[in-house]
Amino acid sequence: MLDLRVLEPCSLQSSLAACADSQVLGTAPPTFKLPAVADLDGFQKAAVQMVKPAKGTTTLAFVFKHGVIVAADSRASMGNYISSQTVKKILEINRYLLGTMAGGAADCQFWQRNLGTRCRLHELANKRRISVAGASKLLANTLYSYRGMGLSMGTMIAGWDESGPGLYYVDSEGGRVEGKRFSVGSGSTYAYGVLDTGFRFDMTVDEAVELARRAIYHATFRDGASGGVASVYYVGPQGFKKMSGDDVGELHYKYYPVPEATVEAEMEDVTTS
């Protein structure tokens, strides 16, 4: 086990408040004290290993004619153990920006909340909403400054701004790419299959929501680390709206209902013998 006595308790509140002003008025990214450990590399590797098991997930997002659809499952697994079936993997940064969670849950939640704060400050100072490109750049720059320190995030930032729908993939290596279709997580390959087959740019909102729901369902069916509830959100000019949250077990029987005839035949066999 890690020897945690060596660590100095890091005062998050004071360091956050102290750099709040420079964070806003200047361009300095937030800084935390490094752990005071003898073997920093070993400690970091161990820290990453502790976070890693929570990565099993399927999240996807795509741009189409009427906006952006963002969808995700809700399972958290640690090896063979399912630790939760009700994780919220689509994070509401503000009314018109959504972020997805993949990788370290705490990292995603904290930094996307922090992103929400900085987007609001940008809005107050510039009297207009921040663009999706700007918001994703803010996050990517922050993550780049923590490169190599063990953060684990693979998140998609989706939203609607003055230039229309926007979708970016940002990860903890500091990378940021713009795109029209993304899927992230252990179930992403299955989701891509369904998504790429059924995608048409001029779908209606309902068709797009159904496509996303099916893609998540198929991923949860085949990938053991994905499951729970398939949530689908839509981001349009008015902001985001949660379109549906369906248990994938129920979706299975909805898409592939068990035919009545087979069940009756089995029961007849039982009564005669």
């Binding site: 509140q13 956050l16 408040a17 709040a20 002003d21 806003v24 008025l25 909340r113 922090n114 929400g116 704060t117 609001r120 400050l121 107050l124 100072a125």
Partner: protein, 170 residues
């Protein structure tokens, strides 16, 4: 200027100093939302601004060389309902129901004392605000030399058309 969704402020004096205070207020309110997941109360926000305003003199390296040369009217809406605070360069703040600051403030304060009533409607309040301004302003009140903002319960700065509508009722 807007400090947060539920707090706005008006300034009088060295308006450049006011921008620093407003910026500090914005950072404080957003940090409060981040840490506590709730809007910051108007009194706490006013207190945070006054704490900054007090940091002048020869104390330690953090103090400023001169006080902020600006008075503020902080208007907001929180759990205690709508409220108004008045701050001045000394770092003191008072809670008020009605206040005027600036060069014409004495005349305006008297007019407010005569006509203000806690239970008036929003329209009556708009009319009172503009008619009070009209009394102390030398130029004619038009939609381009007057600004109105309300916090009811969120901050809204009136468009020139909305200001014009109030002027019509004077």
């Amino acid at each position: 200027m807007e400090i947060d969704e539920h707090i706005g402020c008006a300034m009088s004096g060295l308006t450049a100093d006011a921008r620093t205070l407003v910026e500090h207020g914005r950072v404080e309110t957003q940090n409060h939302r981040f840490s506590y997941n709730e809007p910051m109360s108007v009194e706490s926000t006013t207190q945070a601004l006054c704490d900054l305003a007090l940091r002048f003199g020869e104390g330690d390296e953090e103090s400023m060389s001169r006080p902020f040369g600006v008075s503020l009217l902080i208007a907001g809406h929180d759990d205690n309902g709508p409220c108004l605070y008045h701050t001045d360069p000394s770092g003191t703040f008072w809670q008020c129901n009605a206040k005027a600051i600036g060069s014409g403030s004495e005349g305006a304060d008297t007019a407010l004392q005569e006509h203000y009533d806690l239970n008036m409607t929003l329209e009556e309040a708009e009319t009172l605000a503009l008619s009070t301004l009209k009394q102390v302003m030398e130029e004619k009140v038009t939609s381009s030399n007057v600004d109105i903002a309300k916090v009811a319960p969120t901050y809204h700065l009136y468009t020139p058309q909305e200001v014009e509508a109030v002027i019509q009722r004077l």
